[in-house]
Symmetry: C2
Subunit: 291 residues, 2 copies
């Protein structure tokens, strides 16, 4: 149990961490830091009881905290690290919830020269198409995976504390390298989000003539749900992990071109094989989920 | 109420029509036609009580039927029409459940010279990633849309009977032209299915090195669900509507290339706009659903 947890960025993820930590009794006190321009959101977080108190002065917010968790869009993290640097406390555990990890390492290195040994890079694989503290949900991390990407010199006690914290929130904690994380997540999360944004954008422009959305069925609804995700967060993620994402988009384009060619040349049997391969791959995926 | 309904193709859709029609009391007797090679499926349909009787002789199956509904993959319809032709009865109402309509018109014209006036082209916008009669569900069509694409000389009594039938099954019935149907469905159903097959296929090939599926979260699961759809059915749909689908794939590729370029040149503001446009389009879609 921590005495005092500071959340930097009380949106969907930061707010859900706070709510879950409170319900599980993991912290005596939960505070938040945010900028003056986010005052309304901070006040809402306090009114909703998500946090006990908020500060627009970062040095006040983190004072006497055991743990500081940064849950802002990954593009803002370097600025946050610069603000934290003058007050850095080697006894405090710092962690984040960023969807890309290489970019967080780069930002920490830019500010501190090297990643501080008491900073634990973490990523809860959970989210929702809603954003903001009003959508915070204490069950958000239950039965979800959380990936920690430790570095060679990450302090063991900090690593264990963060790992235990997330296990208490209901997550299944895994460890992998920063690079592997960014490769896997580009495929499993970043690319699908881009595909959904691209599809709904394309159809949105056609909709006035075509009434497409009126006749959209279940498959499309599922497919398009993630196109409602927070644009700021996704702008940041896509730019932060573009080295992984750009080649994946290319490979996906190649895949689509192949299907396009099979259609153009009426190659039914090859289409059938392509679709069957995908169907079987998804079945492997489902079987794995049940393990 | 019909005396005798014949379903040709008792899979997910045909079986669900039969189950729903029985529960709603719309038919005295429900029979099915299928090929000898599908005997096991026909027997299962009878054992499950989905149909009263089945025939592997089409002339026996349709004898004294008020209504014949063809629910086979669209690629098989021309063969079915050839089998039906010698026994064509102007007093019977014929309809289908094909996901493409232009191809059904073409097949009817090839066999009959012109689309018979007692054939009502219909498409229930409902489905599931499961297939086969065991997955048949009498609620499948409830609160779903059904599109009828009448031709200039479609008989009014046949049109009304089919429309009423589907309304009784719980569907909201609309009418549009064959061409408009195929344009809209290419965008709202056919393209999304191809995107899902392409994504799951691509990731399936990478999965062994990457453990991608292990770390896939909700967005991916939603997105990939339709990749479990029946490959035979989708091979047929894609080929039948390729004139609409191929240019849409091209437009989608252009959309992805734009995003790829924005990433490569770090154009955060333009990415934000792209994602925001999609998010707003989806919100319009959701608002429309609630109307």
């Amino acid at each position: 149990v921590f005495n005092r947890l500071c959340i930097i960025g009380v949106g969907l993820i930061g707010g859900s961490i706070a709510r879950a930590a409170r319900i599980k009794g993991l912290c005596q006190q939960i505070v938040a830091y945010g900028q003056q321009q986010n005052l309304a959101n901070l006040q809402l977080a306090q009114e909703l009881g998500v946090i006990d108190q908020f500060y627009t002065d970062i040095s006040e917010a983190i004072k006497e905290c055991d743990v500081v968790i940064i849950a802002t869009p990954v593009g803002t993290m370097q600025t946050i690290f610069e603000q934290l640097k003058p007050y850095w406390n080697q006894q405090t555990i710092y962690s984040d919830a960023g969807s890309t990890k290489g970019s967080v390492v780069t930002a920490l290195e830019a500010v501190f020269g090297a990643v501080p040994t008491n900073f634990v890079l973490a990523h809860p694989i959970a989210g929702a198409e809603r954003s903001g503290v009003a959508a915070a949900n204490p069950q958000l991390f239950e039965n979800r995976r959380l990936i920690i990407t430790p570095l060679a010199d990450t302090e063991a006690n900090a690593l264990n504390a963060v790992s235990n914290f997330w296990q208490q929130l209901g997550s299944s904690v895994s460890q992998m390298s920063v690079e592997h994380h960014d490769t896997v997540l580009a495929a499993t999360s970043h690319l699908p989000h881009i595909l959904a944004f691209a599809l709904v954008g394309l159809l949105g422009r056609k909709d006035e003539q075509w009434e497409i959305f009126k006749y959209a069925a279940g498959g499309f609804k599922d497919f398009s749900r993630i196109a409602s995700s927070d644009p700021t967060m996704w702008q940041d993620i896509c730019l932060a992990n573009k080295q992984e994402i750009i080649p994946l988009i290319q490979q996906y384009q190649d895949e689509l071109s192949k299907i396009q060619q099979l259609l153009a040349s009426d190659q039914g049997a090859a289409l059938f094989e392509t679709f069957t391969y995908a169907r079987n791959a998804r079945q492997r995926f489902l079987d794995q989920q049940e393990d």
